[in-house]
């Protein structure tokens, strides 16, 4: 009880320190006066009286200290003092402070930025209640690891699992698609989820307005079409209308009644996909004209549905996974396709375990590299602090000599580096937020909309604090220990801080570490840059420079097949007549556009195994428009009509696969499907990249648009000038042909290529900048150490030169000794890079991770920089005037 009372008094005392000090001062003065008066009464002179009074009172400074210690908390006071002192030190050395805080800010900021992305994608729980109970059912090949599985199933599978399982309290399935909202010229593309009836119940959210699907909605085909809109969509597109319930919105030209608004922040279970609204899966046919809902749902081969299931209380994911495996095994009896697959469960949120692994691996790799950079910054600062410690040896020695404790000194020095690190950390946090905003603003437009919510949460904040703390300890611990435990005697004896340049001093070790870390970063950087070059050099296989792509969806617009064919027949001709348009054609699939493509299997009599190929209908003039060389044969022309012989043009890869060593022209290939078709090859086109820039080659089959009707079509125009300049004239043309036809998208083809290049570009830019940063930090480190050594050895150098050493020799000696630790580090870094390079293999195109040219380049770069960094102060050494140096004190 007493202790508590004392503690509380101390807390109160700590808060009212100034008041207590004033009171004490007043009391002491009054006490002193009384003593003086007494002494005067005794007959002493005023001077003596005062003197005697002061003597009686005793050591005031010490007493005040003792008083303060009792009044508050000693460590708090001393820490406060240290902080103020540290602030003063930092202000007095603005150069050092700026460099240190900047390097730390860059290191901590980069780390925090990468962590916040990793945090959002992987660590944060889904913004739904009980998200730990949610799983997704996954499957993959027998040889794949579960991290590579996909998560898509068919609707019949969903029904089967949902109705016969003992492990899930509910299961839902859904499909994402783009759909046209609105009418005519004011329509726009939005993204929706088509969901099973129990979607919202299983996931566990409550509507913000209205209700979710109930009754027949989602269970019975052809019930009234209803929609639940997302919060953002409701606010921005529907104007936040409070009376929205019951009103209709037009989706694919059909009226859908809005029955509810989803809660704020809810965008479904997939983290990066931002959907605008939800419709029942039974309305699929209304949104996708030409598709029969019943067939689409019932098809066992249609495995395009994602799924989420909620575990029953007490059921673990592994037991659910075991049940699913058994279920799959029992299916294999009737359906042999199950034999090749393994089933399991995984966490939802990132579309599939495969995608999740990709993101995890990339973020971790990035995190690894930024950590290297942070360590480099720490090594620099540690070196700086070591140097400062040596400079202050005299001051610290005096302190120790007059009675300061080593522990106190250590505390003070550590506080200095703590303050530095927290300043750097705070600046780094701001930098991280800014970097995140930058990343968000660079969001490319993929075919599906992406969204990140990178706002600060406790995890990111704790990470930033932890990293700052660790850097404080890393940077400051050893210099503080060294300085606090130095022997004060030698420092007091001489005015100059001498010190034999020990061969294996701590600072040399730090430089070696810096060189090693720098080399690691450089190797990664050069690998990424070269990878980007390779990708760009390979090229997409078509000339994207002057092509404009205009997208329509005739099916969603309500065109019948006959109307569509007519439109497709006339449009290219009309477009080609526009001024400035050199060529025009149609294609259903644009390479690298990240949209769905159609696959087929092509077979020939010379080869038993069919080759999976991408297939697309195109109109005559496609190859000319796209700048794809036709290697042999002819393009499609007016002789290839609906009822004439089926013809195809294939790419060179497919030609070689189907008829190795022979001329493909005139041969017949069989395309599998329902129905299968035999087609005659009339042309062979050059290979290109079709899905991603980094892929290996695939087969490609072009069919005439007249023989293979597809409502989703792109008009491609080769223009004389910049493609976007022709957007208006094409819009006018289309509205003349059909005022109600909506253009879903107009963009230059080059944009697709840029998007496809984006991962490689981003990696190259990120790692390239980190590599440069690492190089700069290592250079600063080496420069600092060599410069310091030169200062130390000025006298010695003067003596050498006075004894006849040549300038050149002195130069060489200094440089050689300066880069010796760097060379050691280079060797170590080289070995480490060889060992670790395999990690980067997944991110490289067309270049092996242990590429010798890369390693050689990185090593050379570092060596050059190290030599330069040592050379500059070495020149200073060479210019030393021997006479002045000998007098150096």
């Amino acid at each position: 009880m007493l202790q508590v009372r004392v503690l509380l008094s101390r807390v109160w005392g700590a808060l009212r320190r100034s008041r207590l000090e004033r009171d004490l001062q007043a009391e002491l003065e009054s006490h002193l006066q009384l003593l003086i008066e007494e002494n005067l009464r005794r007959g002493l002179s005023p001077e003596e009286a005062r003197y005697a009074a002061l003597r009686s009172l005793g050591g005031i400074a010490q007493m005040k200290d003792a008083f303060r210690d009792e009044a508050g908390f000693r460590w708090l006071r001393s820490e406060g003092q240290d902080l103020r002192y540290a602030l003063r030190l930092l202000r007095r050395n603005p150069g050092f402070t700026a460099v240190a805080v900047l390097s730390l800010a860059l290191g901590v900021g980069a780390n925090t930025a990468v962590f916040s992305i990793f945090n959002y994608a992987i660590l944060r729980p889904l913004p739904v209640s009980g998200s730990e109970q949610l799983v997704t059912i996954t499957h993959g090949g027998k040889t794949e690891s579960p991290e590579q599985y996909d998560a898509n199933i068919s609707y019949p599978q969903y029904l089967d699992i949902r109705d016969h399982n003992p492990v899930f309290s509910g299961m839902t399935t859904f499909w994402a698609a783009g759909v046209l909202y609105g009418h005519g010229a004011h329509s726009r593309s939005v993204t929706d989820y088509e969901v099973s009836a129990d979607y919202f119940d299983v996931i566990g959210v409550k509507p913000f307005l209205g209700r979710f699907f109930a009754g027949k909605e989602g269970r019975v085909l052809d019930s009234d079409p209803v929609a639940v809109v997302g919060y953002k969509f409701w606010k921005s597109v529907l104007g936040g209308d409070p009376n929205i319930l019951g009103k209709t919105i037009a989706l694919s030209g059909h009226p859908f009644t809005v029955i509810g608004v989803a809660p704020k922040g809810f965008i479904g279970t997939e983290r990066i996909l931002a959907v605008d609204l939800w419709v029942p899966i039974t309305d699929h046919g209304l949104l996708n004209p030409g598709s029969d809902t019943a067939d689409w749902i019932a098809s066992k081969r249609n495995r395009s549905f994602w799924n989420v299931a909620r575990l029953r209380p007490g059921v673990t994911p592994s037991s659910a996974g075991a049940w699913i495996e058994n279920w799959a095994a029992s299916q294999a009896a009737q359906d042999p396709s199950y034999r090749e697959l393994r089933y399991g469960v995984g966490p939802p949120g990132l579309l599939s375990p495969a995608f999740r692994s990709a993101i995890t691996t990339f973020s971790l790799m990035l995190l690894g590299v930024v950590t290297l950079v942070l360590l480099l910054a720490c090594a620099n600062i540690a070196n700086l602090l070591l140097a400062r410690g040596v400079e202050r040896r005299r001051e610290l020695a005096i302190r120790l000599a007059i009675g300061g404790s080593r522990a106190r000194l250590f505390q003070q020095l550590l506080t200095h580096s703590l303050l530095l690190s927290f300043l750097g950390g705070a600046a780094g946090l701001l930098l991280a937020l800014w970097l995140d905003q930058l990343l968000l603003s660079l969001r490319p437009m993929f075919a599906l909309p992406l969204d990140f919510d990178l706002s600060l949460d406790w995890r990111t904040l704790s990470f930033a604090v932890l990293v700052s703390l660790l850097t404080a300890i890393l940077c400051g611990l050893i210099p503080a220990l060294q300085a606090a435990h130095a022997d004060p005697a030698p420092a007091l004896k001489s005015a100059v801080s001498l010190g034999e340049p020990r061969r294996y001093a701590l600072k040399h070790l730090l430089v070696a570490a810096q060189a090693a870390l720098s080399l690691l970063t450089l190797v990664a950087a050069v690998l990424m840059v070269r990878s980007l070059w390779r990708v760009q050099a390979a090229g997409p296989g078509f000339d994207a420079g002057h092509v404009l792509a205009v997208t329509f969806d005739l099916g969603q617009q309500g065109y019948t097949e006959i109307q569509g064919r007519e439109f497709q027949a006339s449009l290219p001709g009309e477009a080609a007549r526009l001024p400035g348009v050199e060529a025009a054609s149609l294609a259903s699939y644009i390479p690298l556009s990240n949209t769905d493509e159609s696959d087929t299997e092509a077979q020939s009599s010379s080869r038993s195994k069919p080759v999976v190929s991408i297939m697309t209908p195109v109109s005559p003039g496609y190859f000319q428009t796209m700048g794809i060389p036709l290697l042999s044969g002819r393009d499609f022309d007016s002789t290839d009509q609906e009822n004439s012989a089926s013809v195809i043009i294939i790419n060179q890869f497919l030609a070689r696969e189907l008829w190795p060593g022979q001329d493909a022209i005139g041969k017949t290939a069989h395309l599998n499907g329902t129905p299968g078709q035999d087609c005659r090859v009339v042309g062979v086109a050059a290979d290109g990249r079709y899905e991603t820039l980094g892929e290996g080659t695939t087969g490609f089959v072009y069919r005439p648009a007249t023989q293979y009707y597809w409502p989703h079509i792109n008009l491609l125009l080769r223009t004389a000038g910049p493609p976007l300049a022709y957007a208006d004239s094409i819009r006018k043309l289309v509205s003349e042909l059909d005022p109600n036809l909506a253009i879903t998208d107009i963009r230059p083809l080059g944009e697709f290529v840029n998007v496809a290049l984006l991962p490689a570009r981003m990696a190259a830019i990120l790692l390239g900048s980190l590599g440069l940063l690492a190089l700069a930090l290592a250079a600063i480190g080496i420069y600092g150490v060599v410069s310091y050594a030169v200062n130390q050895r000025t006298r010695e150098i003067g003596i050498r030169m006075a004894l006849g050493a040549e300038t050149g020799k002195v130069l060489t000696m200094v440089v050689r000794q300066g880069i010796a630790p760097a060379l050691l580090g280079l060797g170590l870094g080289f070995a480490a890079a060889l060992a670790a390079a395999g990690v980067l293999g997944a991110f490289l195109y067309g270049i092996p991770p242990r590429d010798p040219v890369t390693f050689a380049t990185a090593a050379m770069l570092l060596l050059l920089v190290a030599v330069f960094a040592a050379y500059v102060p070495a020149r200073r050494a060479a210019r030393v005037d021997p006479a002045a140096a000998l007098r150096w004190e």
Partner: protein, 125 residues
């Protein structure tokens, strides 16, 4: 108490308070109990007087001791005016302080009795 700072000297040399902890606290409490509220100077003077000037108080160390006693609730301080119209802080003993004084005085007596008995025991008796 900080080492190296002596609160109470014995006139023949040597530091009393270094050897016996809390002596100063005890002396202050007793003084205030006997004399009523006093200010710092008066307390110091009184202690020296009562000891027959055999003790010299390092008067500065009084104040940390007074703070300690206040923190424990054994004395209470109040600003007032002294005899010669000076502003001074007067300290008075509290009820808890009286209890503490009783307890400590009892301890002291016991201690003194034990030691004196030890010192008087004849050898081999």
């Amino acid at each position: 108490m900080e080492r190296g700072v002596c609160s109470v000297w014995i006139s023949t040399g040597g530091c009393l308070a270094e050897v016996l902890q809390g002596t100063l606290d005890l002396m202050v409490l007793k003084t205030l109990e006997t004399m009523g509220p006093l200010h710092g100077y008066a307390i110091a003077r009184r202690i020296e007087q009562v000891s027959g000037d055999l003790l010299h108080l390092n008067q500065g160390t009084l104040y940390p001791a007074l703070l300690r006693l206040q923190q424990r609730g054994w004395i209470k301080g109040r600003w007032g005016t002294s005899e010669n119209n000076r502003r001074a802080r007067f300290y008075g003993i509290t009820r808890a302080g009286r209890r503490q004084l009783e307890a400590e005085a009892a301890d002291w007596e016991r201690m003194a009795a034990i030691i004196s008995r030890l010192l008087q025991t004849p050898q081999g008796a």
